[in-house]
Symmetry: C2
Subunit: 189 residues, 2 copies
């Protein structure tokens, strides 16, 4: 099971409902994992059955009631065990890269369109992460926060997210430039 530990890690910081978790694991706030809502609801059910998280009902007026989950002692132990075990390397699996790999055999305009779209998404994420980082470290400088802040885990993963998206953006614009230049040259004949 893989999602399992990601959920536990996310719930360490604060009590969350399935719905809130889904938000975090979707749009890109959680840069260390991605999952669909259905998967999260299912996983929370299983985690509770196994006693790794516990939920409590929170009645709300003018909103449907919700269940907030927190990590139990057993859950923390499970996370410790998981952390001690060696991590399998992460792989790249990206449709866009497949398309660029085939660049010399397919329509360049399609490719440029998709690279442009990806670049925009990357920029949006960079902005989002930037805001998030500023909120996490509050007044402090990054250096100061990383030394003495009380919870740096989420900050560190967020730094990874920024770096990744920055490289992503960089590569997209570079690739677009190359492909456009080649199209221009080709168009002369």
């Amino acid at each position: 099971m893989a999602l399992r530990h990601a959920v536990l890690a996310a719930l360490l910081e604060e009590e969350l409902s399935g719905y809130q978790l889904a938000k975090a694991f979707d749009v890109g706030v959680a840069n260390f994992w991605y999952a669909r809502p259905q998967q999260l609801y299912a996983e929370l059910t299983r985690l509770e059955e196994d006693g790794l998280v516990a939920g409590r009902d929170v009645p709300q007026d003018s909103r449907p009631n919700k269940r907030l989950f927190h990590v139990t002692e057993a859950g923390l132990t499970e996370l410790e065990t998981f952390t001690a075990a060696s991590a399998k390397p992460a792989f790249v699996r990206d449709d866009l890269l497949v398309k660029v790999q085939a660049a010399d055999h397919v329509d360049i305009s399609d490719l440029i369109a998709q690279l442009t779209e990806r670049a925009q998404i990357a920029q949006a994420k960079i902005d989002l992460f930037g805001t998030l980082l500023r909120r996490l470290r509050d007044d402090r400088t990054e250096e100061e926060f990383l030394r003495h802040g009380d919870r740096v885990g989420p900050y560190l993963t967020c730094l990874r997210g920024v770096a990744f998206e920055r490289e992503n953006l960089n590569w997209c614009t570079r690739t677009i430039t190359v492909l456009e230049e080649r199209r221009r040259i080709h168009a002369r004949y």
Copy 2:
């Protein structure tokens, strides 16, 4: 189907056997996708059934015979269609990031060990990709090659691979430094 197009893209450059494909999709030569040998053999069978690739038997002495596959006209059309369709964004799903997210609640030494291991893997990949890039562009400078080389797709995906691993390495060493510093401070009490 996802692997399908990755296989087609890989076969564009040269005729390959299942075994050769497996090599390319494993160790990290193909930086645009990852797959296990079993999956590739299965996918090649399906692709051939669907007429998107065609194989030919190559008898070898002092080696088992093999089947080399190449992309058919129908296969190329399929790739074009795929490229024209909009790509779904790629997500992060990394065990190591989950562990770092939980950094404030788990054993730091375990974390540092795994970050170190990951950093070494990243360095190895950077070297590998560097060699590959030099081979691809031959004598030419990168600028020159990207403008006038005849097949730049694999080069561009490889550039993405280098950038990714460089950021990976960077983040790992930075994170190690932060965690070690915090451990040092903590140890005083």
